[in-house]
């Protein structure tokens, strides 16, 4: 759902950039105060993994493809929505500047959708669902699914404001495609969390951690 430059007029792009920069500043503050140096290996691997996974477009039927976004994954594993903002913002800069995947003036909107909305929706729905279901796979799958769907609907709203998509048709198509892409997002997110928990359980934050002695 990387929005290209051609889809949003420059003044609107600037507004999204300003909002995005506020969250990026908060994410930098989070990294400075909250992130311990023991987390650097996992952040490094998540950055590389999210970049690689984002380049892998899988067919999702209906003439459409989709790839992992990774906002929920980063937020769940590192235990903060700002982890998603931090990693996704930097990944989006590399993608936009070097590879033309997502625009420059629209990068603010992309950071808001995938980093901020994806990270916050992923983190808080995971937390809430863990409280109710006590099941990591169920909670992470649904949280990642929502963290794919809701940013897509936000993008549809931005496209409406930009005059690029009509509201209803945009919401319906974005919703249907990303409801399916979200299934991939959910499965990969659960798979990666399992993988990390198996090799380095100490690096996974939040309620995902196995209880001591178990």
């Amino acid at each position: 759902m990387h929005i290209p430059d051609a889809f949003i007029p420059i003044p609107q792009g600037i507004v999204y950039w300003i909002i995005a920069l506020v969250f990026v500043a908060l994410a930098l503050r989070w990294a400075k105060n909250e992130m311990s140096e023991e987390k650097i290996p996992i952040v490094a691997v998540l950055a590389a993994g999210i970049f690689a996974l984002q380049s892998f477009n899988l067919p999702v039927s209906m003439g459409t493809s989709g790839h992992l976004v990774g906002g929920a994954l980063a937020a769940i594993v590192l235990g903060s929505p700002f982890a998603a903002v931090f990693i996704l913002a930097l990944v989006l800069i590399v993608q936009g500047v070097l590879f033309g995947d997502g625009g420059i003036t629209t990068m603010g909107a992309n950071i808001i959708n995938m980093g901020v909305i994806g990270g916050f929706v992923g983190f808080y729905s995971f937390k809430g669902l863990m409280g109710i279901t006590r099941s990591m796979p169920v909670s992470a799958f649904l949280a990642a699914w929502l963290a794919c769907l809701i940013p897509a609907l936000a993008a549809a709203g931005e496209m409406f404001i930009a005059g690029t998509f009509p509201l209803e048709a945009g919401l319906v198509a974005m919703g249907i495609y990303h409801a399916i892409i979200g299934i991939v997002e959910g499965m990969v997110t659960v798979g990666v969390i399992y993988l990390i928990m198996n090799v380095r359980p100490d690096l996974v934050d939040m309620g995902v951690k196995r209880p001591a002695g178990a």
Partner: protein, 114 residues
């Protein structure tokens, strides 16, 4: 439990393998946003396949335009899949270095002000 070095190297190797496989196997269908653009422009049915000749109409009036050095994760047709691999490997390593570099800069700057 594996140590940090094994974890980082293992993680990077897996990421690079995913990226290289993607060069050969990634779907060329439009992504969700592009598909939606084609649907609202009447070039594609909502649930139908994407026609071969479908192309997104872009209104560039009042929009910014930028030519990236490696568009579409490729070095151009001349280099084929090898160019794709170079682009993805470079992007993956760069994403990692920038993220880790940003953390170290923040931590060092944070310590300096204390």
């Amino acid at each position: 439990m594996i140590d940090n070095k094994t974890f980082i190297i293992g993680g990077i190797v897996i990421a690079l393998m995913i990226g290289v496989v993607a060069v050969f196997m990634a779907s060329s269908d439009p992504d969700g946003l592009e598909s939606t653009a084609l649907v609202v422009q009447g070039q594609k049915e909502l649930t139908g396949a994407t026609p071969e000749n479908a192309e997104i109409q872009e209104d560039l009036n009042g929009k910014f335009s930028y030519e990236s050095p490696m568009p579409d994760y490729s070095l151009g047709e001349r280099f084929g899949p090898l160019g794709g691999i170079v682009a993805i490997v470079a992007g993956t390593i760069l994403a990692l270095l920038i993220v880790v570099g940003a953390i170290y800069s923040i931590k060092i700057a944070g310590k300096a002000t204390k």
